[in-house]
Symmetry: C2
Subunit: 335 residues, 2 copies
Amino acid sequence: MNGNNKPYVIGLDLGGTNSVFGIVDNNANVIAETSVKTRGHNDNAQQYVDDCVVELRKIIDQVGGIEKIGAMGIGAPNGNYYTGCIEFAPNLSWAHDVVPLAKMFSDALGIPVAMTNDANAAAIGEMTYGAAKGMKNFIMITLGTGVGSGIVVNGQMVYGCDGMAGELGHVIVEKNGRTCGCGRKGCLEAYCSATGVARTAREIISNTNKPTLLRDIPLNQIESKDVSIAAGKGDEVAKEIFEYTGRILGGACADFAAFNSPEAFIFFGGLTKAGDLIMEPIRRAYDENVLKIYKGKAKMLISQLDDAKAAVLGASALGWEIVMERGTAISTNAI
Amino acid sequence: MNGNNKPYVIGLDLGGTNSVFGIVDNNANVIAETSVKTRGHNDNAQQYVDDCVVELRKIIDQVGGIEKIGAMGIGAPNGNYYTGCIEFAPNLSWAHDVVPLAKMFSDALGIPVAMTNDANAAAIGEMTYGAAKGMKNFIMITLGTGVGSGIVVNGQMVYGCDGMAGELGHVIVEKNGRTCGCGRKGCLEAYCSATGVARTAREIISNTNKPTLLRDIPLNQIESKDVSIAAGKGDEVAKEIFEYTGRILGGACADFAAFNSPEAFIFFGGLTKAGDLIMEPIRRAYDENVLKIYKGKAKMLISQLDDAKAAVLGASALGWEIVMERGTAISTNAI
């Protein structure tokens, strides 16, 4: 009835630095790709959209024109699914206010466009193409510069009353703990993001005399990536940093289970590259802390999506949602 | 198509002491009521059902026979919605194992029967008849002997992968805090249940020389009810106990908001009788602790259901769910 003769959707992974566009088929193949710098564009949202559309048209033409495209999905920081707006994104110079980005792209391209935040897009991607295929209840945790989450209940994304649900990175895990970017203290994000891991590294290295490869790096320049590399070489202090991080994350997940008793937690992002070094303490802390009735039920999985493409695929999956389930332009409901 | 000629449903509030049955119309009128002691029945589940049905038939006959009844809903401790079973209920002598209670009542009465836990039943009741009418995303918190919760997302109850989701009373609010009945430490329930409040009362009274009416009661006999009465008389120590309790509950709710960004938190149970003495610190702690994007969004409400009837009405609402939405016997899906 709708879009069946349209074999592709567009996914936009709108990051702080780059905006990556992919044209994707329903087997998760990225048929064509392009990108535009997110910054610049005279700090003007309409200019950003116009500049993107110029580049985008080139790859649309490559695949046979806009008639082949069923819809577009956007994963963006502070992207609100209900309104199709980016709301007060501190790191986007043209979105410090409320920008109706879904409607702007829809008007420019003449196709339906939906938007959600990046972690929700990742969860939809995982459900459509990845480790969560067929799951009805799971929690996606994205471990990047920040800690994001996308929650699925009864097979549906949890958007809440305002489109902004699922900010598990800002659940308090340590009363009066580390100051978080959100202005509060003790958030999960302050411990388990890449910056949180770097902070833990600095704390642990300062408080121990144990030998560690990490001392070769100036203390204030240590990044979570360095910890991964050192841990991969068997560095005991680096392993201790992952142990500390994983225990906090596993303990937090034990509390999250009491909410929607998920079939799985799926972890995504740089930190998961450490494999069992991070997953083992997560699993252990989860088992030790979870309520008895939930014990042994939730799987602890690493995302199955190719890192480089995951964000674009997630956004494209939101496009498929429109094509498959709704068939109408969500952007027509946007403000 | 189904049940339209059947003007009533049966609600069963299965408590540790009494099993209260109500025949309810779709305007929340309890047309007929009866009750049976929950204990006894030779510690045999089939005997319990048989004994209940004898009493139940009397009120069924009063309203015109079983042809008038569309379905039955049960709210029971450890009631699993998916299986229709009571699972390992420590306080029910005939349900220490797994008892397929929904199927047993369905077989005995010849009508569809659904079951869920008591807090979920309360949430469904509130959504059907009470303060949550028309809401799609809210969290019900029941403050009784324990702390229970029922969570609604996109207008649907959150049951999770196993039918056991929504145990927010067992989220950790104080690391290495008070021992909880579940065997873990620092659960919300250990602070904000009736027994938690009594425990707080004993702690605070022991640690202060301030005058208080509560000293008239032997320390180990103080109940949360006594704290309410004293607070109602302006007792400063009793108010401090509610302040402490409310702050912990409000802080916990701030974390819960990050999950499903609810339109409202609805509180039910004895503790809410204290009105603003408990609600004010809940609201204050919530506002101080909630993530900025959620600030000012969720209402903090007290249940609108009549306490004496709320549990039966909640269970009956589950019965209406079958009649209205499914039209088929969920118990046929039971194990």
